[in-house]
């Protein structure tokens, strides 16, 4: 079976600075994969490359039979790959509902996620739909960011540090929604600093260190020491 998303020998650059070195990465339909690693390991760069915010060789990234390594971000979300960016990055000029609606701007994929489906998953957002996003709590803002990503009805949802800066109980609430998202056939990639949390909620993981994959596998088959070494690189 060919993977839905496959990355081969990806080198990513910010100007002259090389952030990723020969990354290989695969994702099957409906799968949940964690990308773990210390600060600066290249996790966010990997997601940005997938989402088109960092450009690469066309054939470095293949998604659903297309070479998308150099496609603009605005096209990639139409193909079905949506990013929930680090730090939420909601639009402060838009209300809660408008932030969700703009997620569906591409407009070509309309099911199963729409405004009602997002409100069913996060009822509190319906209550606050006319509020400015700036007055929401961090957890509610994260719900808007995830909802906004889902509104494009992606086949892959990329989540960059969705637990960052949130209370543990709120993180728990948000992670509880991941199976529901996968239940609709959406594959999920989570980038996390909280290793235990990431490994608990995913099928497979990749560990990055200084721009290279140092370990990959299934959480259950991998022992803690191996992960620690791959993470810190001692």
């Amino acid at each position: 079976m060919t993977a839905l998303l496959s990355v081969s020998a990806l080198d990513a650059f910010y100007g002259d600075f090389q952030a990723l070195f020969g990354i290989d990465f695969e994702l099957q339909q409906g799968e949940a994969v964690a990308v773990i690693g210390a600060n600066g390991a290249g996790k966010s760069t990997l997601l940005k490359s997938l989402a088109g915010l960092v450009r690469n060789r066309p054939d470095a990234i293949r998604f659903a039979g297309r070479e998308i390594g150099d496609s603009p971000a605005a096209n990639i979300v139409r193909f079905g790959l949506a990013l929930v960016p680090e730090g939420r990055q909601l639009f402060p000029s838009l209300t809660v509902e408008e932030n969700l609606l703009i997620g569906a701007y591409g407009g070509e994929r309309t099911s199963p996620w729409d405004l009602q489906a997002v409100y069913r998953m996060f009822p509190v957002l319906q209550e606050r739909r006319r509020s400015a996003v700036t007055v929401l709590s961090g957890g509610q803002q994260q719900m808007v960011a995830i909802g906004r990503g889902l509104m494009s009805n992606p086949s892959v949802l990329l989540c960059d540090e969705i637990s960052l800066g949130l209370a543990p109980i709120v993180v728990e609430d948000i992670y509880r929604m991941l199976p529901r998202i996968r239940g609709n056939g959406t594959a999920i990639v989570v980038v996390e600093q909280d290793i235990a949390r990431a490994l608990r909620s995913t099928d497979r993981f990749y560990c990055l260190q200084e721009g290279r994959v140092t370990l990959a596998g299934r959480p259950a088959d991998t022992d803690q020491d191996a992960i620690r070494t791959a993470y810190f690189g001692t």
């Binding site: 989402a51 971000a73 605005a74 096209n75 990013l83 990055q89 639009f91 703009i102 701007y105």
Partner: protein, 288 residues
């Protein structure tokens, strides 16, 4: 009724200034682009309407519509072919380019139409008036200008706050890279914004061209009034821009009433006073 007259005249003049300013306000709000050629684009539109009405003999209303479409396309192309290349973190290159464009348009108009003063002919409409109270009549043309300004602001507000395009405008203004993640093509959004701005300028050109004489050199002065209206009203707020235009119009007519030499000066002094008291304008947008 003298004082009352002055106030009405000021408000009506404000409608014209607001129309000058709307396009400027629009693209500044979305793109943070200060278009120094805005006044000259208004003049270009006025000359185009003049040509279509006099040379081709098309009625004013129909030719206005035609030129709105033409200028929208011109604005779209201007952004995609020229401005897009210089937009970035540095605000100087777009300023220089629009400054250059201003000179090009001025001299192009001079070459094509000569330096004579022109005026748009609107027939009986120019001089007809409605009587509000005994002894108080309002010229139909200035009244139409004010109503058009109000309608233009209302329409733009509607586009901004009730449509998917408007959401895309605001999202792109907030953060271009994140807007791209939503599938928004930033280049098209910007090009539509410039097109809209220039199209609105056609309305400004017509109301102005019926009211007063114009020649190729007066663009920069219109730009100055437009700037003042935008700043008085508050950056990024379209209703504010309308209010700013009216404040400016009032200041000028009241100044002129006191002493005809003071018309322009009173406008500028009011502008300075607003800047000193409320540097962010009367109705600044909520966004920090």
């Amino acid at each position: 009724m003298n004082g009352f007259d002055t106030i009405i005249e000021g408000v009506l003049l404000g409608g014209v200034y607001a129309l000058f300013a709307l396009g400027l306000s629009l693209i500044f709000g979305i793109m943070r682009l200060v278009n120094l050629a805005h006044g000259d684009l208004i003049l270009l539109a006025a000359y185009l309407v003049l040509s279509v009405t006099t040379v081709l003999g098309v009625p004013l209303a129909a030719s206005s519509l035609l030129i709105v479409v033409v200028m929208f396309a011109a604005g779209f192309a201007l952004q995609r072919l020229v401005l897009e290349r210089v937009l970035g973190d540095d605000i100087l290159p777009p300023l220089l380019v629009t400054f250059g464009l201003s000179i090009v348009i001025q001299n192009g108009l001079l070459l094509g139409y000569g330096a004579d003063s022109r005026r748009l002919q609107a027939g009986a409409f120019e001089s007809s008036s409605v009587t509000l109270l005994p002894g108080l009549s309002i010229g139909l043309a200035p009244l139409a200008a004010l109503l058009t300004a109000v309608a233009a602001v209302a329409l733009l507000q509607l586009i901004f706050y009730r449509t998917s395009l408007g959401r895309a405008f605001r999202a792109t203004a907030d953060s271009p890279p994140i807007a791209q993640l939503m599938g928004i093509n930033e280049r098209n959004v910007y090009a539509i914004a410039v097109g809209l701005s220039v199209a609105v300028s056609v309305i400004a050109a017509i109301t102005f061209g019926i009211r007063a004489n114009f020649d190729p050199s007066i663009g920069p002065a219109r730009l100055l009034y437009a700037f003042e209206a935008v700043i008085i009203g508050g950056l990024g707020s379209l209703w504010g821009t309308l209010a700013g235009g009216i404040v400016l119009g009032l200041a000028q007519t009241i100044g002129a009433r006191i002493n005809p030499e003071w018309q322009i000066l009173a406008g500028h002094l009011t502008f300075l006073a607003v800047l000193m008291v409320r540097p962010r304008g009367l109705f600044p947008s909520r966004r920090p």
